[in-house]
Symmetry: C2
Subunit: 294 residues, 2 copies
Protein backbone atom coordinates (compact mmCIF):
# COMPACT_ATOMS: atom_id res chain seq x y z
CA UNK A 1 0.00 0.00 0.00
CA UNK A 2 1.31 3.48 -0.86
CA UNK A 3 2.08 6.03 1.84
CA UNK A 4 -0.61 8.30 0.41
CA UNK A 5 -3.33 5.64 0.67
CA UNK A 6 -2.15 4.60 4.12
CA UNK A 7 -2.32 8.20 5.35
CA UNK A 8 -5.74 8.64 3.74
CA UNK A 9 -7.07 5.57 5.55
CA UNK A 10 -5.49 6.53 8.85
CA UNK A 11 -7.07 9.96 8.66
CA UNK A 12 -10.55 8.90 7.58
CA UNK A 13 -11.37 5.51 9.11
CA UNK A 14 -11.57 6.84 12.69
CA UNK A 15 -13.88 9.67 11.61
CA UNK A 16 -16.27 7.25 9.87
CA UNK A 17 -16.22 4.89 12.85
CA UNK A 18 -16.91 7.73 15.27
CA UNK A 19 -19.81 8.90 13.09
CA UNK A 20 -21.38 5.40 13.00
CA UNK A 21 -21.20 5.17 16.78
CA UNK A 22 -22.66 8.64 17.33
CA UNK A 23 -25.54 7.98 14.93
CA UNK A 24 -26.56 4.85 16.86
CA UNK A 25 -25.80 6.11 20.36
CA UNK A 26 -27.99 9.19 19.96
CA UNK A 27 -31.20 7.27 19.30
CA UNK A 28 -33.76 6.39 21.97
CA UNK A 29 -34.09 2.61 21.80
CA UNK A 30 -33.74 -0.48 24.02
CA UNK A 31 -30.12 -0.65 25.22
CA UNK A 32 -29.68 -4.28 24.20
CA UNK A 33 -30.69 -3.41 20.63
CA UNK A 34 -28.25 -0.52 20.41
CA UNK A 35 -25.58 -2.78 21.89
CA UNK A 36 -26.24 -5.47 19.25
CA UNK A 37 -26.15 -2.87 16.45
CA UNK A 38 -22.88 -1.40 17.74
CA UNK A 39 -21.32 -4.82 18.33
CA UNK A 40 -21.28 -5.60 14.63
CA UNK A 41 -20.57 -2.03 13.52
CA UNK A 42 -17.49 -2.08 15.75
CA UNK A 43 -16.36 -5.60 14.86
CA UNK A 44 -13.71 -4.25 12.52
CA UNK A 45 -13.61 -4.52 8.77
CA UNK A 46 -11.69 -2.68 6.10
CA UNK A 47 -14.26 0.15 5.77
CA UNK A 48 -13.70 -0.01 2.02
CA UNK A 49 -17.13 1.38 1.14
CA UNK A 50 -16.99 4.59 3.19
CA UNK A 51 -13.40 5.07 2.05
CA UNK A 52 -14.59 4.99 -1.56
CA UNK A 53 -17.12 7.76 -0.85
CA UNK A 54 -14.29 9.85 0.60
CA UNK A 55 -11.78 8.97 -2.11
CA UNK A 56 -14.20 10.18 -4.78
CA UNK A 57 -14.77 13.42 -2.85
CA UNK A 58 -11.00 13.76 -2.63
CA UNK A 59 -10.71 13.30 -6.40
CA UNK A 60 -13.07 16.22 -6.95
CA UNK A 61 -11.33 18.28 -4.28
CA UNK A 62 -14.58 18.68 -2.35
CA UNK A 63 -14.65 18.63 1.45
CA UNK A 64 -18.09 17.96 2.92
CA UNK A 65 -18.79 16.54 6.34
CA UNK A 66 -21.88 14.80 4.87
CA UNK A 67 -19.54 12.34 3.14
CA UNK A 68 -18.73 10.83 6.54
CA UNK A 69 -22.43 10.44 7.27
CA UNK A 70 -23.07 8.80 3.89
CA UNK A 71 -20.06 6.54 4.45
CA UNK A 72 -21.35 5.59 7.90
CA UNK A 73 -24.79 4.83 6.44
CA UNK A 74 -23.32 2.56 3.76
CA UNK A 75 -21.31 0.71 6.41
CA UNK A 76 -24.56 0.23 8.38
CA UNK A 77 -26.25 -1.34 5.33
CA UNK A 78 -23.19 -3.51 4.70
CA UNK A 79 -23.13 -4.56 8.37
CA UNK A 80 -26.85 -5.44 8.43
CA UNK A 81 -26.30 -7.65 5.38
CA UNK A 82 -23.42 -9.45 7.11
CA UNK A 83 -25.49 -10.02 10.27
CA UNK A 84 -28.33 -11.57 8.24
CA UNK A 85 -25.93 -13.53 5.97
CA UNK A 86 -24.29 -15.10 9.01
CA UNK A 87 -27.60 -16.38 10.48
CA UNK A 88 -28.04 -20.15 10.85
CA UNK A 89 -30.75 -20.08 8.14
CA UNK A 90 -28.24 -18.55 5.70
CA UNK A 91 -24.46 -19.12 5.86
CA UNK A 92 -24.49 -20.26 9.50
CA UNK A 93 -21.17 -18.65 10.37
CA UNK A 94 -19.92 -18.54 13.96
CA UNK A 95 -17.07 -16.14 13.32
CA UNK A 96 -16.64 -12.98 11.29
CA UNK A 97 -13.43 -10.93 11.30
CA UNK A 98 -12.15 -13.18 14.09
CA UNK A 99 -15.06 -12.35 16.40
CA UNK A 100 -18.24 -14.23 17.23
CA UNK A 101 -21.04 -13.37 14.82
CA UNK A 102 -23.94 -11.29 16.06
CA UNK A 103 -26.37 -14.18 16.57
CA UNK A 104 -23.76 -16.18 18.52
CA UNK A 105 -23.67 -13.32 21.03
CA UNK A 106 -27.27 -11.97 20.98
CA UNK A 107 -29.26 -14.93 19.64
CA UNK A 108 -30.98 -15.33 16.27
CA UNK A 109 -34.01 -13.14 17.05
CA UNK A 110 -32.06 -10.12 18.27
CA UNK A 111 -29.52 -10.49 15.44
CA UNK A 112 -32.33 -10.45 12.89
CA UNK A 113 -33.79 -7.35 14.54
CA UNK A 114 -30.41 -5.60 14.88
CA UNK A 115 -29.98 -6.09 11.13
CA UNK A 116 -33.49 -4.79 10.47
CA UNK A 117 -32.82 -1.73 12.63
CA UNK A 118 -29.56 -0.92 10.81
CA UNK A 119 -31.29 -1.26 7.44
CA UNK A 120 -34.14 1.02 8.52
CA UNK A 121 -32.14 3.72 10.27
CA UNK A 122 -29.88 4.20 7.24
CA UNK A 123 -32.60 5.85 5.17
CA UNK A 124 -33.75 8.17 7.94
CA UNK A 125 -30.20 9.40 8.49
CA UNK A 126 -29.87 10.26 4.79
CA UNK A 127 -33.25 12.05 4.86
CA UNK A 128 -32.13 14.20 7.82
CA UNK A 129 -28.81 15.42 6.32
CA UNK A 130 -29.92 19.04 6.31
CA UNK A 131 -26.66 20.42 4.98
CA UNK A 132 -27.24 18.51 1.71
CA UNK A 133 -29.82 19.87 -0.73
CA UNK A 134 -33.15 18.03 -0.75
CA UNK A 135 -32.88 16.71 -4.31
CA UNK A 136 -29.46 15.16 -3.63
CA UNK A 137 -30.72 13.48 -0.47
CA UNK A 138 -33.61 11.98 -2.42
CA UNK A 139 -31.24 10.78 -5.16
CA UNK A 140 -29.05 9.10 -2.52
CA UNK A 141 -32.07 7.41 -0.86
CA UNK A 142 -33.46 6.26 -4.21
CA UNK A 143 -30.13 4.79 -5.34
CA UNK A 144 -29.27 3.21 -1.99
CA UNK A 145 -32.68 1.54 -1.90
CA UNK A 146 -32.11 0.07 -5.37
CA UNK A 147 -28.51 -0.95 -4.63
CA UNK A 148 -29.33 -2.59 -1.29
CA UNK A 149 -32.68 -4.17 -2.17
CA UNK A 150 -34.23 -6.78 -4.43
CA UNK A 151 -32.64 -5.20 -7.51
CA UNK A 152 -29.17 -5.25 -5.94
CA UNK A 153 -27.69 -6.76 -2.80
CA UNK A 154 -30.69 -8.76 -1.54
CA UNK A 155 -31.40 -10.03 -5.06
CA UNK A 156 -27.75 -11.09 -5.35
CA UNK A 157 -27.96 -12.95 -2.08
CA UNK A 158 -30.98 -14.86 -3.44
CA UNK A 159 -29.04 -15.76 -6.60
CA UNK A 160 -26.09 -16.83 -4.45
CA UNK A 161 -28.26 -19.19 -2.39
CA UNK A 162 -29.98 -20.55 -5.51
CA UNK A 163 -26.52 -21.12 -7.01
CA UNK A 164 -25.35 -23.24 -4.08
CA UNK A 165 -27.25 -26.24 -5.36
CA UNK A 166 -25.90 -26.12 -8.92
CA UNK A 167 -22.82 -25.41 -11.01
CA UNK A 168 -22.97 -21.80 -12.16
CA UNK A 169 -21.63 -20.58 -15.50
CA UNK A 170 -19.14 -17.70 -15.44
CA UNK A 171 -21.91 -15.38 -16.59
CA UNK A 172 -24.22 -16.48 -13.77
CA UNK A 173 -21.42 -16.19 -11.22
CA UNK A 174 -20.68 -12.65 -12.38
CA UNK A 175 -24.36 -11.75 -12.07
CA UNK A 176 -24.38 -12.96 -8.44
CA UNK A 177 -21.45 -10.74 -7.55
CA UNK A 178 -22.45 -7.70 -9.59
CA UNK A 179 -25.57 -7.70 -7.41
CA UNK A 180 -24.54 -9.17 -4.07
CA UNK A 181 -21.39 -7.16 -3.42
CA UNK A 182 -21.05 -4.96 -6.50
CA UNK A 183 -24.21 -2.89 -6.15
CA UNK A 184 -23.29 -1.37 -2.78
CA UNK A 185 -19.71 -0.77 -3.89
CA UNK A 186 -21.00 1.03 -6.98
CA UNK A 187 -23.32 3.06 -4.78
CA UNK A 188 -20.39 4.02 -2.53
CA UNK A 189 -18.51 5.45 -5.47
CA UNK A 190 -21.58 7.02 -7.06
CA UNK A 191 -22.70 8.63 -3.81
CA UNK A 192 -19.32 10.38 -3.55
CA UNK A 193 -19.84 11.66 -7.09
CA UNK A 194 -23.38 12.86 -6.26
CA UNK A 195 -22.20 14.70 -3.12
CA UNK A 196 -19.26 16.23 -5.02
CA UNK A 197 -21.57 17.48 -7.76
CA UNK A 198 -19.90 15.44 -10.54
CA UNK A 199 -21.27 15.66 -14.10
CA UNK A 200 -23.33 12.79 -15.49
CA UNK A 201 -20.38 11.87 -17.74
CA UNK A 202 -18.02 11.72 -14.77
CA UNK A 203 -20.55 9.68 -12.79
CA UNK A 204 -20.80 7.16 -15.66
CA UNK A 205 -17.01 6.77 -15.78
CA UNK A 206 -16.82 6.27 -12.02
CA UNK A 207 -19.62 3.70 -12.11
CA UNK A 208 -17.65 1.81 -14.77
CA UNK A 209 -14.56 1.95 -12.52
CA UNK A 210 -16.73 0.77 -9.62
CA UNK A 211 -18.12 -2.16 -11.63
CA UNK A 212 -14.63 -3.54 -12.28
CA UNK A 213 -13.42 -2.78 -8.75
CA UNK A 214 -16.39 -4.72 -7.41
CA UNK A 215 -15.49 -7.76 -9.49
CA UNK A 216 -11.81 -7.45 -8.50
CA UNK A 217 -12.91 -7.39 -4.89
CA UNK A 218 -14.93 -10.58 -5.25
CA UNK A 219 -12.36 -12.49 -7.32
CA UNK A 220 -9.67 -11.63 -4.76
CA UNK A 221 -12.06 -12.82 -2.03
CA UNK A 222 -12.40 -16.16 -3.82
CA UNK A 223 -8.61 -16.39 -4.29
CA UNK A 224 -7.96 -15.57 -0.63
CA UNK A 225 -10.33 -18.33 0.43
CA UNK A 226 -7.82 -20.71 -1.20
CA UNK A 227 -4.43 -19.11 -0.56
CA UNK A 228 -5.21 -17.37 2.77
CA UNK A 229 -5.26 -18.80 6.28
CA UNK A 230 -8.15 -18.68 8.75
CA UNK A 231 -6.02 -16.58 11.10
CA UNK A 232 -5.13 -14.04 8.43
CA UNK A 233 -8.69 -13.76 7.08
CA UNK A 234 -10.50 -13.73 10.42
CA UNK A 235 -12.98 -16.21 8.94
CA UNK A 236 -12.75 -19.90 8.05
CA UNK A 237 -10.47 -20.31 5.01
CA UNK A 238 -11.13 -23.07 2.49
CA UNK A 239 -14.87 -22.92 3.09
CA UNK A 240 -15.70 -22.50 -0.60
CA UNK A 241 -13.92 -25.69 -1.66
CA UNK A 242 -15.33 -27.62 1.30
CA UNK A 243 -18.86 -26.60 0.29
CA UNK A 244 -18.20 -27.11 -3.43
CA UNK A 245 -19.21 -23.52 -4.10
CA UNK A 246 -19.08 -21.93 -7.55
CA UNK A 247 -16.17 -19.47 -7.41
CA UNK A 248 -13.81 -17.91 -9.93
CA UNK A 249 -10.97 -20.35 -9.11
CA UNK A 250 -13.40 -23.29 -9.29
CA UNK A 251 -14.56 -22.19 -12.73
CA UNK A 252 -11.28 -20.84 -14.14
CA UNK A 253 -8.54 -22.51 -12.04
CA UNK A 254 -6.50 -20.40 -9.60
CA UNK A 255 -4.31 -19.02 -12.40
CA UNK A 256 -7.35 -18.27 -14.55
CA UNK A 257 -8.94 -16.38 -11.64
CA UNK A 258 -5.74 -14.35 -11.20
CA UNK A 259 -5.80 -13.46 -14.90
CA UNK A 260 -9.45 -12.43 -14.65
CA UNK A 261 -8.61 -10.31 -11.60
CA UNK A 262 -5.86 -8.56 -13.54
CA UNK A 263 -8.14 -7.97 -16.55
CA UNK A 264 -10.76 -6.22 -14.40
CA UNK A 265 -8.03 -4.25 -12.66
CA UNK A 266 -6.83 -3.01 -16.07
CA UNK A 267 -10.38 -2.07 -17.09
CA UNK A 268 -10.82 -0.15 -13.81
CA UNK A 269 -7.61 1.79 -14.49
CA UNK A 270 -8.62 2.45 -18.08
CA UNK A 271 -11.95 3.85 -16.87
CA UNK A 272 -10.13 6.25 -14.54
CA UNK A 273 -7.97 7.48 -17.43
CA UNK A 274 -11.12 8.81 -19.10
CA UNK A 275 -11.67 11.29 -16.23
CA UNK A 276 -10.70 14.91 -17.00
CA UNK A 277 -8.18 14.97 -14.16
CA UNK A 278 -5.81 12.30 -12.81
CA UNK A 279 -6.83 10.31 -9.78
CA UNK A 280 -3.87 8.77 -8.03
CA UNK A 281 -5.82 7.89 -4.94
CA UNK A 282 -8.47 5.92 -6.84
CA UNK A 283 -5.70 4.14 -8.78
CA UNK A 284 -3.94 3.24 -5.55
CA UNK A 285 -7.24 2.01 -4.20
CA UNK A 286 -7.59 -0.36 -7.16
CA UNK A 287 -4.10 -1.72 -6.48
CA UNK A 288 -4.94 -2.18 -2.82
CA UNK A 289 -8.13 -4.12 -3.61
CA UNK A 290 -6.20 -6.43 -5.95
CA UNK A 291 -3.24 -7.01 -3.62
CA UNK A 292 -4.97 -7.15 -0.24
CA UNK A 293 -4.31 -10.31 1.75
CA UNK A 294 -7.32 -10.19 4.07
Amino acid sequence: MTQQLKAFMKENIPVVEKRMNELVEEITAPEILKEAMLYSLNAGGKRVRPLFVLAVMNHFNVKDDAAYTVGAVIEMIHTYSLIHDDLPSMDNDDYRRGKLTNHKVYGDAFATLAGDALNTIAFGILARMEQVEAEKRLELIDKLSVAAGAEGMVGGQILDIEGESKQLTLEELEKVHVNKTGAILRFSIESGAILAGASEAEKAILVEYAHHIGLCFQIQDDILDIVGTTEQLGKTAGKDIASDKSTYPALLTLDGAKEKLHAHYQLAIEALEKLPSESNLLKEFAEYIVHRNK
Copy 2:
Protein backbone atom coordinates in the same frame (compact mmCIF):
# COMPACT_ATOMS: atom_id res chain seq x y z
CA MET B 1 -69.65 -1.23 10.48
CA THR B 2 -71.42 1.80 8.96
CA GLN B 3 -72.36 1.89 5.29
CA GLN B 4 -70.06 4.87 4.79
CA LEU B 5 -67.03 3.04 6.18
CA LYS B 6 -67.92 -0.12 4.27
CA ALA B 7 -68.14 1.83 1.01
CA PHE B 8 -64.88 3.64 1.80
CA MET B 9 -63.08 0.32 2.33
CA LYS B 10 -64.63 -1.27 -0.74
CA GLU B 11 -63.49 1.63 -2.88
CA ASN B 12 -59.95 1.96 -1.53
CA ILE B 13 -58.63 -1.47 -0.56
CA PRO B 14 -58.44 -2.75 -4.16
CA VAL B 15 -56.55 0.38 -5.26
CA VAL B 16 -53.97 -0.03 -2.49
CA GLU B 17 -53.58 -3.73 -3.25
CA LYS B 18 -53.15 -3.06 -6.96
CA ARG B 19 -50.53 -0.40 -6.18
CA MET B 20 -48.52 -2.78 -3.93
CA ASN B 21 -48.50 -5.39 -6.67
CA GLU B 22 -47.46 -2.95 -9.38
CA LEU B 23 -44.64 -1.54 -7.26
CA VAL B 24 -43.15 -5.01 -6.76
CA GLU B 25 -43.90 -6.41 -10.21
CA GLU B 26 -42.14 -3.55 -12.00
CA ILE B 27 -38.74 -4.18 -10.41
CA THR B 28 -35.97 -6.24 -12.01
CA ALA B 29 -35.16 -8.93 -9.46
CA PRO B 30 -35.00 -12.73 -9.16
CA GLU B 31 -38.51 -14.10 -9.79
CA ILE B 32 -38.54 -16.24 -6.65
CA LEU B 33 -37.81 -13.16 -4.53
CA LYS B 34 -40.62 -11.15 -6.11
CA GLU B 35 -42.92 -14.15 -5.65
CA ALA B 36 -42.03 -14.39 -1.94
CA MET B 37 -42.58 -10.65 -1.47
CA LEU B 38 -45.94 -10.79 -3.26
CA TYR B 39 -47.03 -13.95 -1.44
CA SER B 40 -47.15 -12.15 1.91
CA LEU B 41 -48.36 -8.84 0.49
CA ASN B 42 -51.30 -10.71 -1.04
CA ALA B 43 -52.02 -12.92 1.96
CA GLY B 44 -54.93 -10.75 3.00
CA GLY B 45 -55.19 -8.55 6.04
CA LYS B 46 -57.45 -5.69 6.98
CA ARG B 47 -55.25 -3.00 5.31
CA VAL B 48 -55.96 -0.78 8.30
CA ARG B 49 -52.77 1.26 7.93
CA PRO B 50 -53.22 2.35 4.29
CA LEU B 51 -56.91 2.99 5.02
CA PHE B 52 -55.89 5.41 7.78
CA VAL B 53 -53.71 7.36 5.33
CA LEU B 54 -56.70 7.64 3.02
CA ALA B 55 -59.22 8.42 5.78
CA VAL B 56 -57.09 11.37 6.93
CA MET B 57 -56.82 12.63 3.33
CA ASN B 58 -60.61 12.27 3.14
CA HIS B 59 -61.01 14.31 6.32
CA PHE B 60 -59.06 17.18 4.76
CA ASN B 61 -60.93 16.78 1.47
CA VAL B 62 -57.68 16.26 -0.41
CA LYS B 63 -57.41 13.79 -3.28
CA ASP B 64 -53.85 12.77 -4.14
CA ASP B 65 -52.83 9.57 -5.88
CA ALA B 66 -49.62 9.61 -3.78
CA ALA B 67 -51.71 8.56 -0.77
CA TYR B 68 -52.14 5.13 -2.36
CA THR B 69 -48.40 4.84 -2.83
CA VAL B 70 -47.71 5.87 0.76
CA GLY B 71 -50.39 3.40 1.92
CA ALA B 72 -48.82 0.63 -0.16
CA VAL B 73 -45.37 1.44 1.30
CA ILE B 74 -46.68 1.26 4.87
CA GLU B 75 -48.30 -2.09 4.13
CA MET B 76 -44.93 -3.30 2.77
CA ILE B 77 -43.21 -2.32 6.03
CA HIS B 78 -45.99 -3.94 8.06
CA THR B 79 -45.73 -7.10 5.93
CA TYR B 80 -41.94 -7.32 6.28
CA SER B 81 -42.35 -7.10 10.06
CA LEU B 82 -44.89 -9.95 10.02
CA ILE B 83 -42.61 -12.15 7.88
CA HIS B 84 -39.70 -11.65 10.30
CA ASP B 85 -41.92 -11.98 13.41
CA ASP B 86 -43.21 -15.33 12.17
CA LEU B 87 -39.70 -16.81 11.71
CA PRO B 88 -38.77 -19.83 13.85
CA SER B 89 -36.21 -17.71 15.73
CA MET B 90 -39.02 -15.31 16.72
CA ASP B 91 -42.68 -16.33 17.16
CA ASN B 92 -42.33 -19.52 15.10
CA ASP B 93 -45.79 -19.28 13.55
CA ASP B 94 -46.86 -21.66 10.80
CA TYR B 95 -50.04 -19.81 9.88
CA ARG B 96 -50.96 -16.16 9.43
CA ARG B 97 -54.39 -15.04 8.27
CA GLY B 98 -55.25 -18.69 7.61
CA LYS B 99 -52.35 -19.18 5.19
CA LEU B 100 -48.94 -20.74 5.61
CA THR B 101 -46.40 -18.17 6.77
CA ASN B 102 -43.72 -17.01 4.35
CA HIS B 103 -40.92 -19.23 5.70
CA LYS B 104 -43.17 -22.31 5.62
CA VAL B 105 -43.48 -21.77 1.86
CA TYR B 106 -40.11 -20.28 0.87
CA GLY B 107 -37.82 -21.39 3.70
CA ASP B 108 -36.22 -19.30 6.45
CA ALA B 109 -33.45 -17.78 4.31
CA PHE B 110 -35.72 -16.53 1.53
CA ALA B 111 -38.32 -15.31 4.03
CA THR B 112 -35.66 -13.28 5.84
CA LEU B 113 -34.54 -11.82 2.52
CA ALA B 114 -38.08 -11.15 1.27
CA GLY B 115 -38.63 -9.16 4.49
CA ASP B 116 -35.36 -7.30 4.00
CA ALA B 117 -36.29 -6.47 0.40
CA LEU B 118 -39.72 -5.11 1.43
CA ASN B 119 -38.12 -2.97 4.14
CA THR B 120 -35.54 -1.57 1.72
CA ILE B 121 -37.77 -0.92 -1.28
CA ALA B 122 -40.22 1.10 0.84
CA PHE B 123 -37.83 4.03 1.25
CA GLY B 124 -36.86 4.14 -2.42
CA ILE B 125 -40.51 4.26 -3.47
CA LEU B 126 -41.12 7.25 -1.18
CA ALA B 127 -38.00 8.99 -2.55
CA ARG B 128 -39.24 8.57 -6.13
CA MET B 129 -42.77 10.03 -5.61
CA GLU B 130 -42.12 12.90 -8.00
CA GLN B 131 -45.61 14.38 -7.71
CA VAL B 132 -44.93 15.12 -4.01
CA GLU B 133 -42.66 18.05 -3.14
CA ALA B 134 -39.13 17.09 -2.11
CA GLU B 135 -39.38 18.36 1.49
CA LYS B 136 -42.54 16.32 2.11
CA ARG B 137 -40.94 13.17 0.71
CA LEU B 138 -37.98 13.67 3.04
CA GLU B 139 -40.29 14.21 6.02
CA LEU B 140 -42.12 10.96 5.20
CA ILE B 141 -38.84 9.01 4.87
CA ASP B 142 -37.47 10.48 8.11
CA LYS B 143 -40.62 9.67 10.07
CA LEU B 144 -41.13 6.21 8.57
CA SER B 145 -37.53 5.32 9.41
CA VAL B 146 -38.07 6.37 13.03
CA ALA B 147 -41.48 4.66 13.29
CA ALA B 148 -40.29 1.39 11.75
CA GLY B 149 -36.81 1.19 13.27
CA ALA B 150 -35.05 0.88 16.61
CA GLU B 151 -36.97 3.84 18.03
CA GLY B 152 -40.33 2.35 17.02
CA MET B 153 -41.47 -1.00 15.67
CA VAL B 154 -38.17 -2.94 15.85
CA GLY B 155 -37.47 -1.54 19.32
CA GLY B 156 -40.97 -2.61 20.40
CA GLN B 157 -40.37 -6.11 19.09
CA ILE B 158 -37.19 -6.28 21.21
CA LEU B 159 -39.16 -5.17 24.29
CA ASP B 160 -41.84 -7.74 23.48
CA ILE B 161 -39.29 -10.58 23.32
CA GLU B 162 -37.57 -9.38 26.50
CA GLY B 163 -40.99 -9.28 28.18
CA GLU B 164 -41.76 -12.91 27.36
CA SER B 165 -39.57 -14.12 30.19
CA LYS B 166 -41.08 -11.92 32.87
CA GLN B 167 -44.32 -10.41 34.16
CA LEU B 168 -44.67 -6.92 32.71
CA THR B 169 -46.28 -4.02 34.53
CA LEU B 170 -49.12 -2.21 32.76
CA GLU B 171 -46.72 0.66 32.01
CA GLU B 172 -44.16 -1.71 30.45
CA LEU B 173 -46.86 -3.49 28.45
CA GLU B 174 -48.10 -0.17 27.10
CA LYS B 175 -44.53 0.78 26.10
CA VAL B 176 -44.20 -2.47 24.11
CA HIS B 177 -47.36 -1.74 22.14
CA VAL B 178 -46.84 2.00 21.70
CA ASN B 179 -43.65 0.99 19.89
CA LYS B 180 -44.33 -2.41 18.33
CA THR B 181 -47.68 -1.70 16.69
CA GLY B 182 -48.43 1.90 17.65
CA ALA B 183 -45.54 3.65 15.91
CA ILE B 184 -46.50 2.50 12.40
CA LEU B 185 -50.18 3.21 13.03
CA ARG B 186 -49.29 6.74 14.17
CA PHE B 187 -47.14 7.13 11.08
CA SER B 188 -50.05 6.05 8.87
CA ILE B 189 -52.24 8.78 10.28
CA GLU B 190 -49.45 11.37 10.36
CA SER B 191 -48.41 10.64 6.77
CA GLY B 192 -51.97 11.35 5.61
CA ALA B 193 -51.78 14.68 7.46
CA ILE B 194 -48.39 15.48 5.88
CA LEU B 195 -49.66 14.71 2.38
CA ALA B 196 -52.85 16.70 2.97
CA GLY B 197 -50.86 19.72 4.15
CA ALA B 198 -52.38 19.75 7.67
CA SER B 199 -51.20 22.38 10.15
CA GLU B 200 -48.86 21.38 13.00
CA ALA B 201 -51.77 21.74 15.45
CA GLU B 202 -53.95 19.42 13.38
CA LYS B 203 -51.09 16.93 13.07
CA ALA B 204 -50.66 16.91 16.86
CA ILE B 205 -54.37 16.22 17.39
CA LEU B 206 -54.33 13.40 14.84
CA VAL B 207 -51.21 11.86 16.43
CA GLU B 208 -53.06 11.90 19.77
CA TYR B 209 -56.03 10.16 18.12
CA ALA B 210 -53.60 7.68 16.55
CA HIS B 211 -51.96 6.95 19.90
CA HIS B 212 -55.26 5.88 21.45
CA ILE B 213 -56.39 4.03 18.34
CA GLY B 214 -53.13 2.06 18.41
CA LEU B 215 -53.76 1.00 22.00
CA CYS B 216 -57.40 0.14 21.23
CA PHE B 217 -56.16 -2.01 18.38
CA GLN B 218 -53.76 -3.93 20.62
CA ILE B 219 -56.16 -4.36 23.54
CA GLN B 220 -58.82 -5.70 21.17
CA ASP B 221 -56.18 -8.05 19.73
CA ASP B 222 -55.50 -9.38 23.23
CA ILE B 223 -59.24 -9.72 23.92
CA LEU B 224 -59.83 -11.54 20.63
CA ASP B 225 -57.09 -14.02 21.48
CA ILE B 226 -59.34 -15.08 24.38
CA VAL B 227 -62.88 -14.69 23.03
CA GLY B 228 -62.20 -15.43 19.32
CA THR B 229 -61.81 -18.76 17.56
CA THR B 230 -58.85 -19.90 15.46
CA GLU B 231 -61.13 -20.12 12.43
CA GLN B 232 -62.46 -16.60 12.85
CA LEU B 233 -59.01 -15.05 13.51
CA GLY B 234 -57.07 -16.98 10.86
CA LYS B 235 -54.38 -17.59 13.47
CA THR B 236 -54.16 -19.80 16.54
CA ALA B 237 -56.51 -18.44 19.23
CA GLY B 238 -55.62 -18.80 22.91
CA LYS B 239 -51.90 -18.62 22.18
CA ASP B 240 -51.28 -15.82 24.70
CA ILE B 241 -52.69 -17.76 27.64
CA ALA B 242 -50.91 -20.94 26.53
CA SER B 243 -47.58 -19.08 26.49
CA ASP B 244 -48.34 -17.16 29.72
CA LYS B 245 -47.82 -13.88 27.86
CA SER B 246 -48.29 -10.47 29.46
CA THR B 247 -51.49 -9.09 27.91
CA TYR B 248 -54.14 -6.58 28.95
CA PRO B 249 -56.61 -9.30 30.03
CA ALA B 250 -53.83 -11.09 31.93
CA LEU B 251 -52.97 -7.91 33.82
CA LEU B 252 -56.46 -6.41 34.17
CA THR B 253 -58.87 -9.36 33.78
CA LEU B 254 -61.05 -9.59 30.66
CA ASP B 255 -63.53 -7.02 31.99
CA GLY B 256 -60.71 -4.69 33.01
CA ALA B 257 -59.25 -4.93 29.51
CA LYS B 258 -62.64 -4.10 28.01
CA GLU B 259 -62.86 -1.03 30.26
CA LYS B 260 -59.36 0.04 29.22
CA LEU B 261 -60.34 -0.43 25.58
CA HIS B 262 -63.36 1.80 26.06
CA ALA B 263 -61.31 4.47 27.87
CA HIS B 264 -58.84 4.72 24.98
CA TYR B 265 -61.73 4.77 22.51
CA GLN B 266 -63.21 7.75 24.38
CA LEU B 267 -59.86 9.56 24.38
CA ALA B 268 -59.53 8.95 20.62
CA ILE B 269 -62.98 10.44 20.03
CA GLU B 270 -62.23 13.40 22.31
CA ALA B 271 -59.06 14.09 20.33
CA LEU B 272 -61.07 14.16 17.10
CA GLU B 273 -63.48 16.68 18.62
CA LYS B 274 -60.61 19.16 18.87
CA LEU B 275 -60.25 19.24 15.08
CA PRO B 276 -61.72 22.34 13.39
CA SER B 277 -64.11 20.24 11.30
CA GLU B 278 -66.04 17.05 12.08
CA SER B 279 -64.63 13.75 11.01
CA ASN B 280 -67.30 11.08 10.79
CA LEU B 281 -65.11 8.67 8.90
CA LEU B 282 -62.31 8.76 11.51
CA LYS B 283 -64.93 8.30 14.26
CA GLU B 284 -66.41 5.32 12.47
CA PHE B 285 -62.91 3.94 12.06
CA ALA B 286 -62.40 4.09 15.82
CA GLU B 287 -65.66 2.20 16.34
CA TYR B 288 -64.61 -0.42 13.82
CA ILE B 289 -61.24 -0.96 15.54
CA VAL B 290 -62.97 -1.44 18.88
CA HIS B 291 -65.72 -3.73 17.63
CA ARG B 292 -63.85 -5.82 15.05
CA ASN B 293 -64.03 -9.58 15.62
CA LYS B 294 -60.95 -10.60 13.62
